[in-house]
């Protein structure tokens, strides 16, 4: 039995390792899709800490992604030198700090924003919290869009370009490399980086889930007053959840910025936040395999469909183009999956089980009093 499990893991690992090599035969576009999907997995794992573990519904999660991405972009592109003469005087090419400084800076700033958002909202619960976080996300987006005047910090709607690629001790992920006679394109290199981050995050989340902190979060999720009565410092625990979730967002943001080489406010709309929440809930809230499944499904499937949408578009005189079709399918998937499996595609075994709740057919019983 044990050897069988080990064999499965080995096969899965091998498959994950050769996946980009196979995909890049069909063009870099396919590897890019997988890369983006992995980034979304990372984001979903971060949001799962906030929503899944601590039960705090955050509809502005993309704000932290944005903060991370912009922080990385500012420190790793010529933009600051163009905007500020005194930086240009000292660093004519822009700051271009090494990733050992930029990624922690992006993570720390995002984490700080997470705590800043958490602090005034501690008293709020449920939908009130949802709407405040949503507003917070919009505030960040409006600022990103408009902070090109009076000082040009974010370059407004035009966004920041020429962002550095990831470089580890001179090893540049932005270029192709050849190992053992096989060519690894840049997107494949990023694939391995993202995969490593995802695996690291999964281990981290898994450990977190079974730690004292994780248990405290779940206690707060199930019954905040009881948790408080049992001696859990709910304030600190909630702030910690916000901070950790945001840090995940910040790291993903810096990955996104360097992967794309370009950031603009368009990538951080409310729809993105909503999509990440949908990934977490669709997959199975609070359950790691479910969250990963949800993220992969919502991020990758529509992109794959986009590539096969050509014939359909031709059939409908171009009225149903690929982006519309993609939206249509996402919307239908969200509705049907929830109707058929309200607890997500792959829910955890115990989550949501309550002592006195009986699933009755009686519609009256079901409405919250």
């Amino acid at each position: 039995m044990k050897t069988k499990k080990l064999a499965t893991i080995l096969i899965a690992a091998l498959a994950l390792l050769v996946l980009p090599l196979l995909l890049q035969q069909g063009g870099n576009a396919w590897v890019r899709i997988v890369d983006m999907a992995l980034l979304y997995v990372l984001l979903a794992l971060g949001l799962n800490i906030v929503v899944g573990y601590a039960g705090l519904l955050d509809l502005g999660y993309v704000a932290f992604f944005a903060v991370g991405a912009y922080m990385f972009a500012l420190l790793g592109s010529p933009h600051l030198a163009e905007a500020f003469p005194w930086i240009a005087a000292n660093f004519p090419e822009g700051l271009h700090l090494p990733i050992w400084a930029t990624i922690p800076a992006a993570a720390a700033l995002a984490g700080l924003f997470g705590v800043l958002l958490g602090a005034p909202t501690l008293k709020l619960r449920g939908d009130y919290l949802a709407i405040v976080t949503l507003g917070f996300g919009e505030i960040i987006r409006v600022f990103l869009n408009n902070l090109d005047r009076p000082i040009n910090l974010t370059n407004g709607p035009k966004g920041i370009s020429q962002i550095d690629s990831m470089k580890f001790f001179g090893f540049d992920l932005g270029k192709s490399h050849t190992f053992f006679g096989i060519e690894f394109t840049s997107v494949s290199m990023y694939y391995y980086l993202f995969l490593a981050l995802v695996i690291f995050s999964v281990i981290l989340c898994h450990r977190l889930q079974n730690s004292r902190i994780g248990r405290a979060w779940m206690a707060i999720r199930e019954d905040e007053i009881a948790a408080k009565a049992m001696g859990i410092n709910t304030r600190n625990m909630k702030l910690l959840a916000f901070g950790m979730g945001a840090t995940f967002g910040g790291v993903s943001g810096s990955m996104f910025a360097s992967f794309q080489g370009f950031v603009s406010p368009e990538s951080f709309s409310l729809m993105e936040s909503v999509m990440i929440v949908a990934m977490v809930v669709l997959g199975g809230i609070g359950h790691l395999p479910g969250v990963i499944l949800g993220a992969l499904l919502l991020a990758a499937l529509p992109e794959v469909l986009r590539h096969v949408a050509g014939p359909l578009q031709a059939m409908t005189d171009g009225r149903l183009d690929s982006s519309i079709l993609r939206q249509l399918l996402i919307a239908l998937a969200m509705i049907t999956v929830m109707l058929m499996r309200p607890r997500g595609l792959w829910p955890s075994a115990e989550h949501g089980k309550s002592l006195n709740k009986r699933a009755g057919k009686d519609p009256i019983q079901s409405i919250n009093p």
């Binding site: 909202t121 619960r125 919009e138 409310l270 949908a278 919250n368 009093p369």
Partner: protein
Amino acid sequence: MEVLLQQIINGLVLGSMYALIALGYTMVYGIINLINFAHGEVLMVGALTSWTIIGWMQEAMPGAPGWLVLLISLLIAFVVCAALNFTIEKVAYRPLRNSPKLAPLITAIGMSLLLQTLAMIIWKPNYKSYPTLLPAEPFQIGGAVITVTQLFILGTTAVSLSVLMWLVHYTKLGRAMRATAENPRVAALMGVRPDTVISATFIIGAILAALAGVMYASNYGTVQHTMGFLPGLKAFTAAVFGGIGNLGGAVLGGILLGLIEAIGAGYIGPLTGGVLGSQYSDIFAFIVLIFVLTLRPSGLLGERVADRA
């Protein structure tokens, strides 16, 4: 002074539209504790439907007076939106009443996305100009300008709010709605059918949203498939601001929000020496919201403690 008066008028017009939409959110929330994310899209469907009807009517009978065309298109938009919202509740929310609270939230978001996409397929994604059907001649009040459309919006809002208040407070349906919001189980024991009440609530909400949609379109002169999103968001903010689940709160929140936005947009430029411009007007709503909720977590007029997610 004239700027202030003008911005107050603009704010009241904007606020009364927010109030109408916010009522739909707050009624639904009061009864089934759900943020109906598709509500803004119902508004959009109402506006686009009326745009289509107006187009047909202007072709079929070019001589018809503007107010009549507007009225007929409004009535048809009511029917379409009521049917739509009724169906949405039946299909996407009712089956999930036993489920974890986030499930209907996701179907609501899905519905919102679905309606936007369908609208994009039916009406094409471009902006369409919405004709001015009421006289365009503006009135002067103490140096400020007010158009007939704006007067129509203020008047219609006042009338529909009065009708709604009468409906909720003095009719049998209204009493059933209040009872269901209070406690559906006990209401059912008293002979109220919660399912019927909920359907009625969705229909009333849809009519108010359609009304707001047509007003929005007449006020700004354009319609498009994404037009429902921002007003929907603002109206929900208004509902929370006033204390969600509370009808008076929704109206108060909507009007205050409209005023804050209009006055803020008019004054932020001069106040900050031109550093911040009116492009920041969209975030006043949220800044005020965060501020109010920090001081009063249940909103201005809200009493009930928020349930947990």
